[in-house]
Amino acid sequence: MNREEAPGKSPEDMYVQQKVRVLLMLKKMGSNLTPSEEAFLRNYAGVVHSQMSQLPQHNIDQGAEDVVMAFSRSEAEDRRQ
């Protein structure tokens, strides 16, 4: 694969495509976009961009997984009553 240029695509076009993808992924992860980035997406992603709001929130956004606490490390005798 020629890593300098994709066949049939100018560097500018590639840049645009990559940026669209990155921005869409950012939105999916819950991050903000600048006004110009929003406009960029509107210009270049068209219909797909408008559907972004319907996509579920990416689980990256939801924080780290929960971790249990191990309480049963030692036993203590209770007073016999």
Partner: protein, 751 residues
């Protein structure tokens, strides 16, 4: 005949002499005074009496002259010849006894003549007015010595009879011994005879009839109430014998055996080991199926005594179905003492990693949860501690709705033990369990946990699990947003922010930064967080933790404080600041605290999660032009370019976004280089997307649908599995060949 008559008279005298020494009433050895029943049906001494009178020889007490003691009494007065005769035959002791306890006199002893004039009482008569209590005590003493005497004489013969070949003889002997144990005096004699106790043990073990076994077991049971008895049983091999009796079909034998073993376990040193060696646990656990609550209480107490601190015993209990039996009792009985003893066994087993899941699978959580609202405080507390121990193994259990609701209610308690347990159990049961999270949120758990945090103060055992539970409730379930809002609505944000202050208990700090991150996901919480001073606290903690990691960077060891790695604090604080930075004003405050250089430095961290969160916060900060320029000025391009190749798509995305934001004003060459690097990173796992990206502009719906439904790795602290294609080494050439990524080196030249 003459000699016989003379020997009879001698015997009377001799018994009288014997009585002098002992102050005893007539034992009946001559007079038969104590005979009550005939010996065929009797279990009283009369049987013994007849046996003794035929088997033993007459006591040969050396004849001594009877003493009259003090002669005339102080009573004075004339005495008749009969009186004189009586006085001659009575000893001083007998005269005292006659005055004090006339009812204990035997034939031949007559009361002393009493002065008719009350004003002239004899000294003895004056003495003859002890309190009733003293009198009773002395009468008992008199009888005591009598029984001891009898038992001492009987023990050797009874010992032999217990070993007789004839089971009827053994049976009778056992019954007699059983009777002897009913009185303290004779019982004391028995415990001092190891051979007798050994004979009882053997008789019990070899008994061919249930009655003999029952009598013998009863004997051991009686003896087990004294220290000497316990020792005698222990030394005579009683423990293995009693353990064998646990298989008896006779309920009374079972009861005697388990109770005797219980006494031994409680009070006899070495008994626990002996019971274990005799396979006592294997015999006791099946007894959990019995239905007598008092019997079960003793049995479960035995199990607790045997298993506390002994891992092998716990495993034996597990292997014999102990958890199921104990949970069954917990679920089906109401007798408080039994529930308490059972909960103690469960508590002991709940620290065993093998027993824990078995108890949970048997329904232990639900069963223990039934007893949290009763009136027995000791039972409630034991159940809570056990539930807490079990909780980390119960995160996938169903049917805990009722338990969760009770625990939320208990968060209102002032009892620190109850709070510690309730918060701990809730924290674990809401761990990765979306249903439990939703339930606890619906039961008002957020508000209750905030109050628990406020009341906990510096009690970390309450604060840490309470904050962890809030952290769980504020993410990854359908009501997470509700919970995030609820924290704010119940004035929880200032309390949470305060937990970041000193003194730092790092597990609480770690839990709190995670909670703050989740709270910041709710836009309405951003301003309250800022107003509560969360941002400077987070930044200061981050700096402190980062400095600590740098100080120890040269050594290979990781640093722990209170069991927490400082890398975790770095990651947590940066992660919280990342989400807080979504708010424009927060973003400005974060940037104004000179944090950008630190975030850029963190891009070089060897911890992948730290790389991700620092790329994430820089991505948010770069939304502001001024911050984007600062980021570029700090030389972030180089590490970001490298991060484009990360296997973690989140990292690659953030890095790309920052590069796009700092390259807006850059030359087209720069943008081309970014683009090329992006091409080889973002599309390397998705050749179809690469293909489509070259064929369709604008991007088509179907392509994006496939892309967005793809497998993003889950966000988490552990290394993330990635559904990826193998990297083609031919495609991956470093753009700047001499670039290295040692975080300790100076930043490379910016592009």
């Amino acid at each position: 005949m003459m000699s016989m008559q003379m020997s009879e008279a001698d015997s009377v005298v001799k018994v009288a002499e014997w009585q002098q020494t002992y102050y005893a009433s007539d034992s009946g050895i001559q007079s038969g005074a104590t005979t009550v029943l005939d010996d065929e049906s009797s279990t009283e001494y009369s049987g013994c009496k007849k046996y003794i009178s035929t088997k033993t020889s007459t006591t040969t007490v050396p004849a001594t002259a009877t003493t009259v003691g003090g002669g005339n009494t102080a009573a004075g007065g004339l005495e008749s010849p009969t009186d004189l005769d009586n006085q001659f035959s009575l000893t001083r002791a007998q005269r005292v006894r006659a005055a004090m306890f006339p009812e204990t006199l035997v034939e031949g002893e007559e009361a002393m003549p009493v002065q008719s004039d009350p004003s002239q009482q004899s000294n003895v008569q004056l003495l003859a007015e002890p309190s009733q209590l003293l009198k009773t005590a002395i009468v008992h003493l008199i009888n005591y010595q009598d029984d001891a005497e009898l038992a001492t004489r009987a023990v050797p013969e009874l010992t032999k009879l217990l070993a007789d070949e004839d089971p009827i003889v053994v049976n009778k002997a056992a019954m007699i011994v059983n009777q002897l144990t009913r009185k303290e005096a004779s019982r004391r004699v028995l415990v001092q005879s190891p051979t007798m106790v050994g004979a009882v043990v053997r008789a019990m073990t070899t008994a061919v009839d249930m009655e003999t076994a029952r009598c013998a077991a009863s004997v051991l049971h009686s003896l087990s109430h004294q220290k000497e008895g316990l020792l005698a049983i222990f030394k005579s091999g009683g423990i293995p014998a009693l353990v064998r009796m646990l298989s008896s079909p006779v309920e009374s034998v079972l009861f005697y055996a388990i109770t005797t073993l219980h006494n031994l376990l409680l009070h006899q040193e070495g008994a626990k080991m002996a019971v274990r060696l005799a396979d006592g646990l294997q015999r006791m656990v099946p007894l959990l199926k019995k239905s007598n609550p008092k019997f079960l209480a003793i049995t479960t107490d035995c199990l607790q005594l045997l298993s506390y601190g002994n891992q092998e015993s716990k495993l034996i209990i597990l292997a014999n179905g102990g958890p199921e039996g104990l949970v069954f009792i917990t679920r089906n009985y109401n007798y408080e003492k039994l529930l308490w003893t059972t909960s103690r066994v469960l508590k002991v087993l709940s620290v065993c990693p093998s027993n824990k899941p078995a108890i949970v699978e048997a329904g232990g959580m639900q069963a223990l949860g039934q007893h949290l609202t009763g009136s027995s405080q000791r039972l409630i507390q034991n159940c809570l501690w056990t539930l807490r121990n079990l909780s980390d193994a119960a995160t996938k259990q169903d049917g805990l709705d009722g338990l969760l609701q009770i625990l939320v209610t208990q968060l209102g308690s002032d009892d620190v033990n109850m709070l510690t347990c309730a918060t701990g159990i809730l924290s674990n049961l809401t761990c990765n369990n979306s249903r439990n999270k939703t339930l606890v949120t619906q039961y008002g758990g957020v508000e209750a946990l905030i109050h628990a945090v406020l009341r906990a103060g510096e009690k970390e055992d309450v604060a840490e699990p309470a904050v962890c539970a809030l952290r769980h409730l504020t993410s990854r379930h359908q009501d997470a947003e509700l919970a995030q809002n609820a924290v704010r609505l119940h004035y929880g944000i200032p309390a949470v922010a305060k937990l970041l202050g000193q003194p730092h208990y790092w597990p609480v700090v770690k839990a709190t930064v995670g909670l703050i991150r989740n709270l910041a996901l709710c836009p309405a919480n951003q301003a309250p967080m800022r107003e509560a001073g969360a941002i400077p606290r987070l930044v200061n903690l981050l700096l402190k933790a980062h400095q600590d990691t740098q100080r120890h960077a040269s050594s290979a060891q990781q640093t722990y404080q209170d069991g927490v790695r400082m890398e975790e604090i770095v990651e947590g604080c940066t992660g919280a600041l990342h989400i807080l930075a979504r708010d424009p004003m927060n973003r400005g405050e974060i940037a104004s605290m000179q944090t950008i250089p630190l975030f850029v430095q963190l891009l070089y961290s060897y911890v992948e999660n730290v790389k991700r969160v620092s790329a994430g916060v820089l991505c948010e900060l770069a939304l502001d032009k001024q911050s984007a320029e600062l980021i570029d000025a700090e030389g972030a391009s180089a590490p970001l370019m490298e991060l484009l190749h990360s296997n973690n798509e989140g990292i690659a995305t953030y890095a790309a976004a920052v590069l796009f934001r700092i390259s807006e004003d850059k030359s087209s060459d720069y943008r081309k280089r970014v683009s090329v690097e992006l091409t080889h990173s973002l599309f390397k796992h998705d050749p179809a997307a690469w293909e489509m990206a070259h064929t369709a502009v604008p991007l088509e719906h179907t392509y994006l649908a496939d892309e967005l439904d793809g497998c993003y790795p889950p966000y988490g602290y552990t290394d993330l599995p990635l559904d990826s294609l193998p990297l083609d080494p031919d495609l991956h050439e470093p753009y700047i060949p001499d670039m290295t990524y040692d975080p300790r080196q100076a930043y490379p030249e910016p592009l």
